[in-house]
């Protein structure tokens, strides 16, 4: 083999490198999955949304992210929503006092907290939270068990393949409940999310059936604890996966 032929490898390798760049950029394999920046106020989700037995308050996600079942956007709580409690609750640990102090300073200065955005789909994707929440998809199915995250990070890839996977294979409410980390399991007769607004349901979940209530959702937490391990008979629910459902 001559020297000359060795040099010819360079353009080939360069092309390979460029190809790798292009492929990794546009294959959808790139993702900010795992992105979890430090926020201006280190908001402890476990303290607020965590289960009571874990030392949390068991707040429902929708208490603060209150547009989730009404809107495409999920909504961030207004500063005065925080101050509703934190006018009087000033923290019992040093860390809590520090972080609540930051919040109070924002509130006193009449400035919103500039939260760093973690979850973002590209602008050509129109993701309706309302459809998913009202269909009974638990928040944790996509966002992970935020109620146990000290610092929130992007749990899922949010890539299109990840979306379509669920739309094609379907969503199993039981798996969703498990993903949510609730220590209850749907009863045998649970048939999946009821249409929004059905009497006796919240976010598509019956509040009357034993063990069907996520923490803080209407029933006393004691009754929300169930040891049932029955397998739900519900069919996996598939969704439309036509391109124009999301891309327009």
């Amino acid at each position: 083999m001559t020297q000359r032929s060795k040099w010819t490898a360079i353009p080939g390798l360069l092309a390979l490198a460029i190809g790798a760049v292009v492929l990794s950029a546009y294959s959808g394999a790139s993702s900010s999955q795992g992105f979890g920046p430090e926020q201006p106020v280190q908001f402890p989700h476990p303290r607020h949304a965590g289960a009571v037995k874990d030392g949390g308050l068991g707040l429902n996600c929708l208490y603060c992210h209150n547009a989730g079942n009404k809107s495409f956007d999920v909504g961030m709580p207004a500063v005065n929503t925080c101050m509703g409690c934190h006018t009087s609750v000033r923290g019992s640990t040093d860390r809590a006092r520090t972080e609540i102090g930051k919040l109070v300073r924002f509130a006193d200065a009449r400035r919103p907290v500039p939260w760093i955005r973690i979850h973002k789909v590209p602008e050509y994707v129109h993701f309706p939270h309302v459809r998913h929440v009202n269909a009974g998809v638990t928040c944790q199915t996509c966002h992970g068990q935020v109620q146990k995250m000290d610092r929130v990070y992007q749990y899922s890839s949010l890539n299109m393949g990840w979306c379509v996977n669920c739309h094609v294979n379907g969503y199993d409410p039981k798996e969703g409940q498990k993903a949510a980390g609730y220590d209850n399991v749907p009863p045998a007769n649970y048939a999946g999310g009821a249409p929004y607004g059905t009497p006796g349901t919240v976010a598509g979940i019956a509040t009357t059936g034993a063990g069907m209530t996520p923490p803080g959702m209407g029933l006393p937490r004691d009754t929300a604890r169930s040891t049932s391990t029955a397998t739900p008979s519900a069919e996996r629910r598939r969704a439309r996966y036509d391109c124009a459902s999301c891309h327009y």
Binding site: I10, L13, A20, A25, F72, V113, Y241, C243, A244, S245
Partner: protein
């Protein structure tokens, strides 16, 4: 091989380094959230809002005097779209292009950020406190010197409480009542109405007329209240029986004229002799001789008019004899029994009460010139632009020691002022208007001010009065809102309740201004017959307004003129016969000169103008004196360095006013048609900026029409007795003599699209639309493979089983467009821009970076316009270029036809355009790689390519400079460079409605939502819906006998179905064929 690696150029380690660098690059270009964004919450969440869900505020449009009701859609604190208020008695849900574009006034990037003062000829930003102190001081000086009585306040004409409020305020400072200026209003018509009917503007009932005759009254555009008039006109013309014929008399066929069945092309200024002849006070032969019209034509019209009772005759010609004409026409109406039937003074509008006549403004200018005026105020009007150069306004204005402007934007008048106190936009401030007698239409802020440094003028006036010891006690309320609520009948509770609907019962206190002195007569003599070869017709632009108010809104600049299809420029209309004689071609630069001045503009050859007449539109030519420099479109400083009228208006076209002398008609109105002109070919040529391809159909059958007699309906000859045009709808089908059977679902229908009735024409539909539902491709997309008889039919349902629970395949979104209703007004086009984030591409700086040509509309001359919905205008007849009155125009809104068998789909190499199971032809922007094969293969040419990064703010072609981008619809993707885009049937509205229905646990209800174009349409020509569901209006409309598909022979199975235009031949044509 491995032995050589030691001496090879690339070592393994180096290769890994390269890969590492590539990986780092990749992580920054991926389409995920590496660009860290912020989530900014509210401080205090407003009670009535949900993040990401629109709130709708009922308010009032202030873009013209009519004051239509609007609903402002506001998302997360920003108003994104205006729609007509369906409950408003005037516009009934429709809205014109100018009303739609009000949001571009709200978010105009050239808006003043705060008050400014001119010192030593240079502008300087000041605080409000300093500005108000300065103004108080100047007011005090004027008062102490005893000259306050000569102060002049020019205010944009509006109805409601503000004019009275302003007069009271002025009176408190010893100043005379303000002049309420509306340069567009037809003073002669108003004066004649007042003398004849006792009201400024009676209600015109087109539906009751047997015949409509217009003497230059452009009631579909700038004459009167265009939207209510257009609604009535379209309803009248769409009647299956007894639809009135429409005759237009005037030297130029305006948009209104193009909608007429017959054009009588008289010489400018001779409308009066024709009107007199028609009412018998002059001989027809004499009138024919003077007006240049065939005697037989006039005689026939006289007979027709005599037979058609009641008729509706309108006068809107703007010559020196305009008042005489209007009075003659009023007499015609009175003798013809029109009063009380087609002309209803009791239901009249108050929109035009109290307008200062042009002559009064001209008198005020003369007082300024005489040095009598110590202080002058200007709010919402731009006399330095509107008044002809011969009025020498700037010289007179300079004689006023202190001049205050309340303008929101830099304009020619504000540039001459000494103090700018920027007002709030009407979408940011409080107010009210009269929607008719006894009806109040409230104006409320739809959002917080875009710029915190701007203040409502009414609030500023209250603050000034409260600083003044003599006036403070009269203004206890802290702001204008409090003042309004304090005076509202029923108080705060009633006010709040009325805000819910935007409209309520109650009277606005009339303006009690002292009757102003009659203006000095500036009567111009009848047009001098010797001074030039051509008559000059200057007319208000239907798009920009006669006062050029819309010129700094890119949507309006980019909206082709409905007649000429020219945009981003001025043009001179010349008849092809004349042009041929003078050797002028389309686009040749010609010079038009009159005694008052001259302008240069490209020639547009137009069939609808007399060969001895030239037409020029008013509205362009702002800031023509300023030097044209390469504007980067990003300048956002507080103090503008360039004036004119903002970046989108500056140096575009010519100011047609400069051709006119200061002359008034008998009512004190500006005589727009008052002079003759000469025409010179300069030898220069420029490509005319136009979206008109060919004005001829070349036998393609795009715009089809039929005679009313072919409908089988019995349109009675004019004068037929007892023909009840308003027969109950249900009886119509039985009355038709054709005996044709109806398709299923086509029977008498009580429900229509938003309360509008769409009558069906009896007979079989000539085209099968239903197969479109099940066209081969659509059926494939819906998963019904194989022939219906095949064994596996319906079994292999592919991806999209029709019984899939999402149910998409059960729908077929479709649209009908009734050409008998469409007037070509183009409101739908602007509505589409507003809804779908369509970039405007014609600004001078939006051209290519290399070989840049800073010409307005350059991109459009290269075919780069992005109008998803365009209005095509075709001419029929007059093929030989010789002058004839006998030609017809047809308007066709052309948008993506959402073909069931779409030619664009199979040619896309990346599957970016495909057929959705619900019948939409979908464009997936993120799949598109920009091959443009689809556009090449589209027979309708409705696909548009992003040649530049119009949606990318770091590019000079950026179409939405801050804060125009606040208007962008969050539901619609802003497209990037290099992708194809087109009409989506407002898929975002479909998805939103589906989501809403789903949340409410129901399915979609018939006609529960519609597209932006259909919603805005002031003639209710567009109906959208699910053609697969017989309860939707559209599924009945497609059964209409007039229905046809454009290019049906191409087998495209379009989802857009047109209903043929209906022509009404004159009595000379055998009508009973």
């Amino acid at each position: 091989m491995s032995n050589d690696s030691g001496s090879a150029g690339v070592k393994r380690r180096d290769f890994l380094k390269v890969l590492g660098a590539a990986g780092a690059t990749a992580s920054t270009v991926g389409c995920t959230s590496e660009k860290v964004g912020k989530l900014i919450p509210y401080l205090v969440h407003p009670d009535e809002t949900v993040a990401g869900v629109s709130t709708y505020y009922a308010t009032t449009c202030r873009e013209c005097a009519a004051s239509c009701g609007i609903i402002a859609e506001t998302r997360d604190g920003r108003t994104t779209k205006l729609e007509g208020n369906p409950e408003h008695p005037l516009n009934r849900g429709a809205l014109c292009a100018r009303g739609q574009a009000a949001v571009q006034g709200l978010y105009n990037p050239d808006r003043f950020r705060g008050p400014m003062v001119k010192q030593n000829g240079a502008w300087r930003a000041v605080s409000w406190d300093d500005a108000l102190t300065l103004l108080s001081q100047k007011l005090g000086e004027a008062r102490s010197r005893g000259g306050a009585g000569n102060a002049i306040f020019l205010n944009q004409h509006e109805t409601g409480s503000f004019p009275g409020f302003l007069d009271a305020w002025l009176g408190g400072f010893g100043m005379r009542p303000h002049l309420s200026v509306d340069f567009e209003a037809d003073a002669a018509a108003i004066e004649a109405n007042r003398r004849t009917y006792g009201v400024a503007w009676p209600r015109l009932s087109f539906a009751d007329a047997k015949l409509i005759v217009s003497f230059g009254a452009d009631f579909l555009e700038t004459w009167g209240m265009s939207v209510p008039q257009q609604l009535d006109f379209a309803d009248a013309r769409a009647k299956a029986e007894g639809a009135p014929r429409f005759v237009y008399i005037g030297p130029r066929r305006s948009l209104t004229g193009l909608n007429a069945d017959q054009w009588i092309a008289c010489k400018p200024g001779t409308e009066l002799v024709i009107a007199n002849a028609l009412r018998g006070s002059g001989s027809v032969a004499d009138a024919a001789r003077q007006s240049g019209v065939a005697e037989a034509t006039l005689a026939r019209l006289q007979q027709e008019l005599a037979a058609a009772k009641p008729a509706l005759v309108l006068a809107g010609a703007r010559g020196a004899n305009a008042l005489d004409l209007a009075l003659a026409v009023a007499a015609l109406n009175q003798t013809g029994g029109a009063v009380g039937t087609t002309i209803r003074p009791a239901e009249g509008s108050t929109a035009f009460e109290g307008i200062a006549r042009f002559g009064e403004v001209a008198d005020a200018v003369e007082r300024m010139r005489a040095g009598q005026v110590p202080i002058a105020f200007v709010r919402g009007v731009n006399p330095a632009y509107v008044l002809p150069a011969s009025a020498k306004f700037a010289d007179a204005f300079a004689k006023v020691p202190f001049k205050v402007s309340f303008s929101l934007y830099p304009d020619e008048t504000t540039e001459l002022c000494d103090l700018v106190l920027p007002d709030l936009h009407s979408l940011e401030s409080w107010g009210d208007a009269e929607a008719g007698r006894g009806t109040v239409s409230l104006q409320q802020p739809a959002m917080d001010p875009v710029f915190a440094g701007t203040r409502a003028t009414a609030d500023v006036l209250i603050q000034l009065a409260q600083k003044d010891p003599a006036n403070a006690a009269r203004y206890p309320a802290k702001d204008y809102r409090g003042w309004l609520m304090g005076r509202f009948p029923g108080g705060t509770a009633a006010f709040t309740a009325t805000l819910q609907k935007g409209i309520g019962a109650g009277a606005v206190a009339p303006r009690t201004a002292a009757a102003s002195a009659a203006p000095t007569a500036r009567a111009v003599p009848a047009i001098d017959q010797t001074s030039g070869d051509f008559y000059l017709v200057a007319y208000p632009s239907p798009v920009l307004g006669g006062d050029g108010r819309g010129a700094n809104k890119p949507w309006l600049q980019e909206l082709p003129d409905p007649v000429s299809k020219v945009l981003w420029s001025s043009w001179v209309e010349i008849h092809p016969e004349t042009a041929n004689r003078l050797g002028i071609e389309r686009g040749d630069i010609v010079e038009v000169a009159t005694a008052a001045g001259k302008v240069r503009a490209p020639a547009y050859l137009y069939l609808g103008i007399r060969p001895d007449t030239l037409g020029v539109a008013l509205g362009q030519g702002h800031g023509a004196a300023a030097k044209l420099d390469d504007y980067d479109g990003k300048h956002n400083d507080n103090v503008p360095t360039q004036w004119g009228y903002g970046r989108y208006a500056r140096n575009i076209g010519v100011r047609a006013q400069d051709l006119l002398g200061v002359g008034t008609d008998g009512a004190g109105g500006f005589a727009l048609v008052s002079t003759k002109a000469t025409l010179t070919k300069t030898g220069d040529h420029d490509t005319l900026v136009s979206t008109e391809g060919s004005a001829r159909q070349h036998g393609r059958g795009i715009a089809q029409a039929l005679l009313v007699t072919e409908l089988g309906a019995t349109r009675e000859a004019p004068g037929a007795e007892n023909a009840n045009a308003l027969a109950p709808q249900g009886s119509k089908n039985q009355e038709s003599g054709s005996g044709a059977s109806h398709g299923e679902g086509a029977g008498g229908k009580g429900e229509g699209n938003r309360g509008e009735h769409h009558e069906d024409i009896p007979g079989e539909p000539p085209n099968e639309f239903r197969p479109g539902l099940r066209s081969p491709v659509a059926a494939d997309a819906q998963g019904v493979l194989g022939a219906p008889t095949a064994e596996n039919h319906g079994k292999d349902k592919g991806l999209y089983a029709t019984n899939h629970w999402a149910g998409m395949a059960n729908r077929r979104w479709a649209m009908t467009i009734d050409l008998a209703r469409c007037t070509g007004c183009s409101a739908c086009v602007t509505a589409c821009y507003a809804e779908n984030n369509i970039p405007t591409v014609g600004a001078p700086w939006q051209n290519a970076t290399v070989f840049a040509v800073a010409k307005p509309g350059f991109n459009i001359t290269r075919g780069r316009e992005m109008n998803w919905l365009r209005l095509e205008r075709y001419f029929e007849g007059a093929d030989d270029g010789k002058f004839t009155e006998d030609f017809e125009s047809r308007f066709v809104p052309m948008l993506c036809q959402h073909c069931g068998n779409a030619p664009c789909e199979p040619v896309c190499p990346v599957y970016a355009t495909y057929h959705a199971p619900d019948g939409l032809n979908v464009q997936v922007y993120n799949r598109c790689v920009g091959t443009r094969y689809c556009s090449n293969n589209c027979p309708y040419k409705v696909r548009y390519f992003n040649w530049f990064g119009y949606g990318e703010e770091d590019r000079k072609q950026y179409a939405f400079p801050e804060p125009l981008n606040w208007q962008l619809n969050p539901d619609v993707t802003v497209r990037t460079k290099g992708v194809m885009e087109k009409c989506t049937f407002c898929v975002q509205r479909i998805r939103e409605a589906e989501t809403r229905a789903k949340s409410e646990g129901r399915t979609l209800v018939a006609d529960e939502f519609t597209t932006a174009c259909s919603q805005a349409c002031p003639s209710r020509a567009i109906v959208f819906g699910d053609a697969a569901d017989p309860t939707w209006t559209v599924s009945k409309q497609v059964e209409d006998r007039r229905a046809y598909h454009v290019f049906e022979e191409l087998n495209t199975y379009t989802a857009v179905v047109y209903l043929k235009k209906v022509n009404h031949p004159g009595p000379a044509t055998p009508a009973g064929a």
